[in-house]
Symmetry: C2
């Protein structure tokens, strides 16, 4: 009997990762294409098609049957199966599902945004397996979120629900790429913590390892490395980031009352440095009836494959 | 054949209203007891029992069969069927459902908070009949909310979801009864607009009809009446209230992306005076992908009976 596999696809601004995932969530084979090397959606879809075919023919793979394709992508709409108004991709609109269904007419193609895909993977393969009400916050360049209530992901009437990165954390605060000011992701994200470092470097006279990097050079990994060495600016930047995250999570709880909030992505690797101030401030700002009930913890999904597994879990969830 | 009816109960700090509601949402008979006249939950439950029996025996009623009891109450938990940690009731904890089930062993007893009950009534009898994703905001002494996503009310893991009145509207803002500062309901509610009037009376030198009332005397109805006469302080108070409401509704939309937000309760009677600035500011603060998609409108439920119908709709929804 052939082994059933789902192709999980994680579309990012630079790279698109494609993998074949079995029912247990294991990535059996994977490959990578450079998103920005394809001038048209047609060429991009054709490259995905070829990649999936090559992976299926990979001699190291068991004899397999493709039973579906699941995709996580920025600005992807679950209802329409399309990427809509993407800012960080080479193409603004791509009807992903309908284009791939031409190439793979016999299998379902499911599409959602990357944070929602991670939330579904957490529900099927991670620590949210027995939870009906939880939230996943993904900390990458920006801040994404997937909200699960009553055991179902909340897509909203238009497929775009879960934009927690764009709730107001600081009225009239930092300018956001979305055109608003003070959005949560301008403080809590890889780019947000960098902005906080530069604000601290400007406001204090404290010596810091980070005074030798330009804004464009500095990465959140550098800030994490400096914090591990005890650099006071880096440590304070993580504390502030956690504080603002915790304050906003108190609002998240007031909406959907999740039992747990999972933090996923690069910044979450700083663990207690960001999670402790987040927990402390969430508790401080929670309405009484929610206090002491909501866990904040790092996602149980490995960073490396979560995008691929997240995409695949859109399909696997219908079989599990 | 006997007509099937549900007892809908609306428990408030002062009054508890009890009515018999048919499947079409019509209140066939109703009565009223003074909540605060009952020193113990047992006496209160016994009074509700008597009221329902009397209504069923009312000679003006068609021959009826009671098929369920639905209750909307402050701090009521859908999962446990209890009132928990009530601040404005004579008793802190009341296991409503289990106590009433002793008196009425043959019918289901459903309990939820008052705003959730209104949301379900809006879904069954109001303007949300064809909507899967919407929000109801109730403006009374405080601000309540009921959030419906994927066609289901969001109760959260503990039954307390939908506390939009306690998201932060103004960081370090007005003191709230909940112990926090800057909660939305300290600005947007009958009490909130009164606080805004007093702030305006303090800050401006403008003449106003409202300068002759004490804080305790002044009601939101007085403010509405003054605004209708063009009183500049009253008009400005409604504008500010609508502005803060609209700004926070932009965050509500970023969470669950509803297609409509229904405003219910006393302040909503001021219609455009509060709804126009709310619409304008929600649009202004919305992330681009949500703009022009979300309606704000007054609830289609009449204020008078909505509490009773809301309670009853908790039961009727399982038959409709």
């Amino acid at each position: 009997m052939r082994k059933k596999v789902v192709a999980g696809i994680d579309i990012g601004g630079m790279n698109t990762r494609i993998g074949l995932v079995d029912q247990s969530g294991e990535v059996l084979a994977d490959s990578n294409i450079a998103t920005d090397q394809y001038p048209t959606p047609e060429e991009f879809i054709s490259a995905i098609h070829n990649s999936i075919d090559l992976l299926l023919k990979n001699p190291d793979m068991p004899l397999s049957e493709l039973i579906g394709i699941g995709i996580g992508a920025p600005c992807a709409n679950y209802h329409t199966g399309s990427i809509e108004n993407a800012a960080n991709l080479p193409w603004k609109h791509v009807p992903l599902a309908s284009m791939l269904e031409v190439n793979f007419p016999d299998v379902p193609v499911k599409v959602t945004n990357d944070a929602n895909a991670v939330a579904i993977a957490e529900m099927i393969y991670g620590d949210a397996r027995n939870l009906n009400d939880f939230v996943v916050i993904t900390l990458g360049t920006g801040l994404g979120s997937g909200i699960v209530s009553n055991g179902e992901l909340i897509y909203g009437h238009d497929g775009f629900a879960g934009e927690v990165g764009h709730i107001t954390a600081v009225p009239n605060g930092r300018q956001c790429n979305c055109g608003r000011c003070g959005c949560l992701e301008t403080y809590v994200s890889a780019r947000g913590i960098k902005r906080t470092v530069f604000e601290l470097l400007a406001n204090s006279t404290e010596d810091s390892l980070l005074r030798d990097s330009s804004f464009n050079e500095l990465s959140s990994k550098d800030i994490h490395a400096a914090a591990l060495k005890g650099d006071p600016i880096a440590v304070e930047a993580f504390r502030i980031t956690g504080e603002i995250l915790g304050r906003s999570l108190a609002d998240v709880v007031a909406f959907t009352s999740p039992s747990a909030i999972f933090i996923f992505g690069g910044l979450a690797e700083a663990k207690d440095m960001i999670l402790n101030p987040a927990k402390e401030n969430m508790e401080k700002y929670l309405v009484g009836c929610f206090r002491g009930k909501v866990q904040i913890k790092p996602s149980a999904l490995g960073n490396k494959d979560a995008g691929i597994v997240g995409g695949a879990s859109l399909v696997w969830r219908n079989f599990i």
